[in-house]
Symmetry: C2
Subunit: 268 residues, 2 copies
């Protein structure tokens, strides 16, 4: 087991990265650190993540139940342990699960490094952490090779997004930056068929779409959907729905599209 350090003062500088988590994570941390919460995501961080772990911070009653996961950590990662009250005081709100970890984002993945993937998911203006997390979970389930998010989409490494992603935000390669127009230009250059998901009646029904070669599924904000400029620059694709009810959740629309592509590639 790694070094276990007992923390009995909420002002201990060793747990400074865990102070006021909520506020700091919403505004973003200039030092490139991010926080992971919960047992399942900690186990993925230990086993499968592409990020460097700084430390783990857990409630004292969790040391025993988490022993297996903690044994899988790199040897130099300190395990800070504190009573629940100290942990809550540090974080600034109750950490019911009693499991936190801090990791470093490191060098971001360049857009060009994702453009060899067979299937990509491209998120445009998705500013809700639940939706970004759910989109990652669905992308992982259907074998997507990478995710591209425009600069207005929110951070997949926000605590809640990681949790909703079922931890996939920790290993599924993604690039976050630029605009949807930039992404479409780069994807076209790289030979992708870009499916712009839209409820528009003139779009091609998804069942009629051939799947061959590289495909990128482009999703826009719930409510407004993708801007016309992006739809027009890509291949508009719609999921047939009942009359008078033309919208499902954006991550769900992604799942419906990606499941078709996954199956088409399996049977090809």
């Amino acid at each position: 087991m790694n070094e276990v350090i007992h923390i009995d003062d909420s002002a201990d500088p060793r747990v400074a990265p865990y102070v006021s988590i909520r506020e700091r994570d919403l505004t973003g941390r200039p030092d490139g650190r991010f926080i992971v919460e919960g047992k399942v995501t900690l186990s993925i961080l230990a086993e499968r993540s592409r990020f460097t772990i700084d430390s783990v911070f857990i409630g004292e009653t969790r040391l025993e139940p988490l022993a297996d996961i903690l044994a899988g950590l790199p040897g130099d990662v300190p395990i800070y342990v504190a009573p629940q009250t100290i942990m809550d005081a540090v974080a600034g709100f109750p950490i019911h699960r009693g499991v936190l970890a801090c990791a470093r984002k490191g060098e971001p993945i360049g857009l060009e490094n994702l453009l060899s993937g067979e299937t990509l998911l491209v998120l445009n203006d998705i500013s809700n952490h639940d939706n970004v997390g759910a989109a990652f979970r669905n992308a992982a389930a259907f074998g997507v090779d990478g995710i591209i998010l425009d600069e207005r989409s929110c951070d997949p490494l926000y605590r809640k997004a990681i949790r909703v992603s079922a931890g996939s935000a920790l290993w599924l390669p993604f690039h976050h930056g630029e605009t949807g127009a930039d992404h479409i230009a780069a994807l076209k250059d790289a030979g992708y068929d870009i499916w712009a998901m839209t409820p528009g009646a003139s779009a091609t029904p998804i069942g009629d779409m051939p799947v061959s070669g590289k495909v990128a599924v482009l999703l826009g904000a719930e409510g407004p959907g993708l801007p016309d400029g992006l739809i027009g620059a890509a291949h508009p694709v719609r999921i047939p729905m009942a009359p008078g009810f033309d919208s499902i959740n954006v991550a769900t629309a992604g799942a419906v599209a990606l499941s078709r592509i996954f199956e088409a590639r399996q049977t090809a």
Copy 2:
């Protein structure tokens, strides 16, 4: 416009149905009343719901912006209006949206009344309001004729479930009661092909499933999934997924399955 009644005392008996909403709604109301929250769901309650509306309770600043929706209410529904502080005091927590309504569940729909529908969704042990709401939204999007929930599933007419359902819980017919085994027996008697959704490797891949006649899609709790007894009594169907990642959200799995059935019926 209906009668507008100004409330200036949080103890006014006319707004008694709105007192301590959160606690009362989680335990269930013996009088069969339920609360609807938010503008979109109020408009569906007014236009398309199958329930009788008791009253509407809105913040005083909302009277003007909601005028169009309020004009669509049956003439005998009183509109209670109060300052935000009174509204929050009545409800017991901040009603940011400033829009509430109270309606009555009335006589529940009998299971037998749903068994003529072409496509049904059957929920087993879904105890999370977000998942029940999302399952309704997806069912509405893909033209499901009715939803059956076992007795352990949660109430689709809980405030949050209604909101997540995009209001479809207010008009999509559902039956809530009995066990999954009871449902399977009744569905078989009525001639349904029952698709038990499961990640099990021996289940039929969804792309190989013919859609003809009456189909019921059966979904189990996230995590454990459907119990073996129910899977064995139905037709096990799986959504192909990437190796090592065998689970998507239960409502999302419903969307993937229902979208296939909807399209197959369209092209048939």
